[in-house]
Symmetry: C2
Subunit: 446 residues, 2 copies
């Protein structure tokens, strides 16, 4: 495995027997998961996806990606929440957070339909000017407001630019297999479609067509990603806490939560991992934050945030723990720090040192400092920055949150709270059928 859990810096906060005493609860959670008898069991498709995914569709994804690479300068990915965070996390991680600014052979990738903002839209349309554009619309139902509005706008834009027929060849739709008006409309309009599986929730969908098509367009080896996830599925199949790192992570975070550590900060040391943290926040926050419970998920990118959130983590309210992703050897070449002959900065002890070794030393120093400050540090060590290792990590978090949610006593696979704002918004916007709610809400507004 490329992923290893290291609990050395949790030891001062959790006694050995506390982990042992979680075994029976973990075994029970494991049973619920593997027998499909727990809450939310209609959404367990992610478990077996890395092994039993649709090979024919996978080949279609590769073919479509190659066509998109050839026919456009910009791919606009329209989706919100789980319909875009996974792709963006993987592309930033394996290519670059500055992907769109780098010289490269693959199209720029921009994300739309994840907010309601004329400012964003205006920027995006101006960026498209004079360049060839393709669309990947990702929406299971086709009726979610943000992506639906963006799809209206960009469909109009493409049809005006290319005519209806060529526009159709530039639109790729990832949606429900059969149901839903978007599927029917796409078939009629001649858009190529891909499937959002019925049994995979949005936040678990990165390894389906939802994530894989944009990821493939960016030039990433999606086969390596799937193989990494498949290896992880094998590695995390046992319910034995001493042998299953993902389950041990789930157990430890629940132990810490029960001790009053109510916020978990996912820490990374590379700007390319920042969006991975956003994906993780949805995965954990949406799976566990319900019924008045749950560990609040936050994230930081060090060392930059050591100079903003570092003070609080070192010395503020002690309701925190950190989970640190240490990527041991990034794929990029090592970079040696040039000497400063005049020693202007007083850091001559850094002359000639490998930049990434300095980063790793900052990581070690910080871990010890934060542990000394009363913040338990869970380490997830990753042997490299590559598709296979990242596939492992994604699956590690998916299976960990499933077990963790069952340990917490919630349904890790639903998200009932997301409807509340939508229903209010629909009512206030005058959606038919919401008249009573509209009246009640309007009375409460200023």
């Amino acid at each position: 495995m490329s992923i290893q859990l290291n609990l050395k810096s949790v030891a001062p906060f959790i006694r050995e027997h506390e982990i042992d005493q979680m075994q029976s609860q973990v075994s029970r959670a494991h049973d619920l998961l593997v027998t499909g008898t727990g809450a939310g069991s209609a959404f367990l498709g992610w478990r077996t996806l890395p092994d039993d995914y649709d090979r024919a569709e996978f080949d279609r994804i590769l073919a479509a990606a190659s066509r998109i690479q050839k026919t456009c300068d910009i791919l606009i990915v329209i989706g919100i929440g789980g319909s875009y965070l996974g792709a963006r996390a993987v592309i930033d991680f394996l290519r670059s957070p500055l992907y769109n600014n780098l010289k490269k052979d693959t199209p720029d990738i921009y994300y739309a339909g994840n907010c309601i903002s004329s400012a964003s839209l205006t920027d995006l349309l101006s960026i498209c000017e004079g360049r060839d554009v393709c669309l990947n619309v990702i929406s299971k139902s086709g009726t979610t407001t943000e992506p639906a509005v963006a799809f209206r706008i960009f469909r109009n834009y493409l049809e005006k630019k290319y005519g209806k027929e060529e526009a159709a060849s530039r639109i790729y739709v990832t949606t429900d297999r059969k149901r839903g008006t978007l599927k029917q409309f796409s078939d009629k309009a001649g858009y190529e479609t891909f499937v959002v599986p019925d049994d995979v929730g949005g936040r678990f969908s990165v390894l389906s067509a939802v994530g894989l098509l944009p990821i493939a367009v960016s030039g990433i080896d999606i086969r390596g990603l799937m193989e990494g996830a498949a290896d992880a599925a094998k590695a995390y199949a046992s319910d034995d806490l001493r042998r299953n790192d993902a389950y041990r992570y789930a157990a430890v975070r629940n132990i810490l939560y029960r001790k009053g550590k109510t916020t978990e900060i996912l820490v990374n040391y590379e700007p390319y991992a920042t969006m991975l943290s956003e994906w993780w926040k949805q995965l954990f926050g949406e799976s566990e934050g319900k019924d008045g419970k749950g560990i609040f998920p936050a994230s930081v990118t060090f060392t930059t945030d050591l100079h903003s959130m570092g003070q609080f983590i070192q010395d503020g309210s002690r309701n925190l723990f950190e989970t640190v992703i240490c990527i041991r050897r990034p794929g990029t070449a090592a970079y040696r720090i040039p000497a400063d002959p005049m020693n202007v900065d007083g850091l001559s002890f850094l002359d000639g040192k490998d930049l990434d070794e300095v980063r790793d030393t900052a990581m070690q120093g910080t871990r010890l400092a934060h542990t000394d400050g009363g913040v338990p540090n869970i380490l997830i060590e990753m042997s490299g920055r590559d598709a296979h290792a990242l596939g492992e990590l994604l699956y590690f978090f998916e299976i960990a949150v499933a077990i963790s949610g069952y340990l917490l006593g919630v349904n890790p696979f639903d998200q009932p709270g997301v409807e509340a704002y939508k229903n209010n918004m629909y009512a206030l916007l005058g959606k038919p059928g919401y008249e009573d709610r509209k009246k009640a809400l309007e009375a409460r507004l200023d």
Copy 2:
């Protein structure tokens, strides 16, 4: 004022008399602030900066910005923490988070020296290839590791590309007025220098040369920014809680904290405000997170994060409150949602609606939903997206955190915890004088 505090959605959680009963504590905090008798009083320069800033330096900033605009395609801003978050927040907010991808007359702006990452560095250097580059190095001491290392690298790069003399004309240094080797070295090398004021801490420095030079390069009206801040300084001069919005914000968040609301989420509805939240997180986290106390600062950008963190906020652990920045009329033109004649998305009630009105409706619906879910909502209403209004907002937060920190009983102007990781890192890297610490730390590593 362009900024208004609206506490209507806090009313269900705080009784009127609770705010009144904070008046005496607030008045005492106000006294500490205005008489300079509180903790950290050596760092109160930000209070009067909008009025008494150095006019001659301000003109030099404008002149340098105009020179940079003419002589380069890319400005690299080297700084970490308060030495870069303010500029980045303002540029993203008033120009665009996609600033570097837009066609424009001003240089691209990239940020370096805020992490230790060969991956980032490699990307940045490749982006600079074939383009003209200027540097703005921002470091009070010149000895902070991250910017110092980046400065070594980019100074070498410029000197190789342009020769020593032309490189010197492309390097702008914002540093200590007199002390520090960076100031001495810059004078000798012929770099133009600007001042990091002695009495303004990093997180309060956005309205000094630290923030203003890069902001001016991006084409933003820095005079408008200063005027907005100056208006705010006048508006928030009274200690009367009923008349001072900034103080009322400080009081309310302390009341909520004392009731167990230990996490504050700064909410915005525009991607262009995302980096403003990062600036805010440093301002509040670093000012208050100490002595085992403090409200944990987090942030979300809606509606995108309603589809990731929305579930948790609606229905998870009830230790949260939200502070929502509502920007009423953005500077960009309104955008009407095109009709979808086939009603594929079932949202025909949106046909022809103004996109930003839909956004505001989402905001209202969400506020009511979250309030119903048990999350107090503080609103900060902003009349527009312009330099003057943003100047007000920056000052609003600065004075609010000063009062809030005194209410909490901490020194809002120091950051002792930031040294812990640095000292460990120096020791592990073999800095002379840290030999004993090095030995002790190494014994604890795996």
